[in-house]
Amino acid sequence: MWNKREDEPVRPPSGTQGTLPPASGSERREAAGIGPSITITGDVTGDEDLTILGRVEGKIDLPKHSVTIGQGGRVKADIHAKAVSVAGEVHGNLVASEQIVIRKTATMLGNLTAPRVGLEDGCSFRGSVEMETPPPKGRVAPASPQAGGGATAASPAVAAPKPESAPRS
């Protein structure tokens, strides 16, 4: 509130739930934003992170950057990015080289492909999830949890979930 500079760069509006940290790079950039009243039909490409609060139909291709679909955002497009976070509505296939997060407010219809996929409980999701988890060098992910572990969404070589308790049947 105090000492606010008039020339401060415009930040994405607050309430963009699920905003990802900016993609790492030598230069830190603010995310570009598509505001709630904006509708874009066609292909979206670029070299910076993108936050969508409006509507996009077509294709989004930002392979080195993050794409965030805020709670009011509506996207009908395939998305290829480094990381994708969805809190709004998406119809399309998502491919990310790092991670995909589907927030609990999201409505997602399409297929997800990424090494790490997070689905918050309560999200509306229909589609398939494919986690491409190449085993890291020097570590071999066992094929079966019964065998003691395997790749998981959170970590490429973490043991399969252990029982949190011994449930009664």
């Binding site: 992910a141 094929a143 572990g149 395997g150 998981t152 252990k162 009664r168 049947s169």
Partner: protein, 231 residues
Amino acid sequence: MAWFSGSRDPAEEARPPGLRCQALKELLGALRPGARHAVLDLGPALSANVRFLSALSCRVRIADLHRSLSVEPVESRRPEAVGALFDRLLPLAAGERFDALLAWDVFDYMRPDQVSALMGRLAPACPPETPVLVLASTGRTIPATPLRYRILDPENLACEGSREPTRPCPRHTQPDLARMMAGFSVRRSVLLRSGLQEYLFVRGEGKEPARAAGAPRGASPRAPWFRRGPR
């Protein structure tokens, strides 16, 4: 009064409600280690289950059927429209195959003709011996919405979700399910202490699903085979 409650350890009482599910263990055991598998989960998306199955080299397809059906308009849920409904809700790519199906308790929330249509649609996508995990309640009531079953380990599930309010339980029996799931037969059936009956069906040991031209797959929705009464 420990003696009245079966002398359970207080620590055990504090545990979240869960299920020891041998059918799940058997289903997971049917997945060959090292091979890529496709698993169809008819329940809602749960991150823990996706993680667990992905660790088994599975591609997981989430159908979230209860939610999908509940938002459909009444017209599209009519028996005569049920085939088209599943064509839309669960589109199958040409040649798509599933190595295992997780139905959980979703069938308790569907009409028999809907289950028949669904399984008739899925049967061609399931190679012989494809396992299907079904949980059917034997109580008088069930929660108004399906519970969420979180895989803790290969034979333990945590049950989550609200148990209130309730609705009448359809109390599907094994013959009921076998009729609804033409092309699948029961391999394992165990009544759990929670009142749930766990079933493991497998593809290919029952009769093939009959499908008349233009008719929804599976049994006729008007076939008066489903009977209910106090047990």
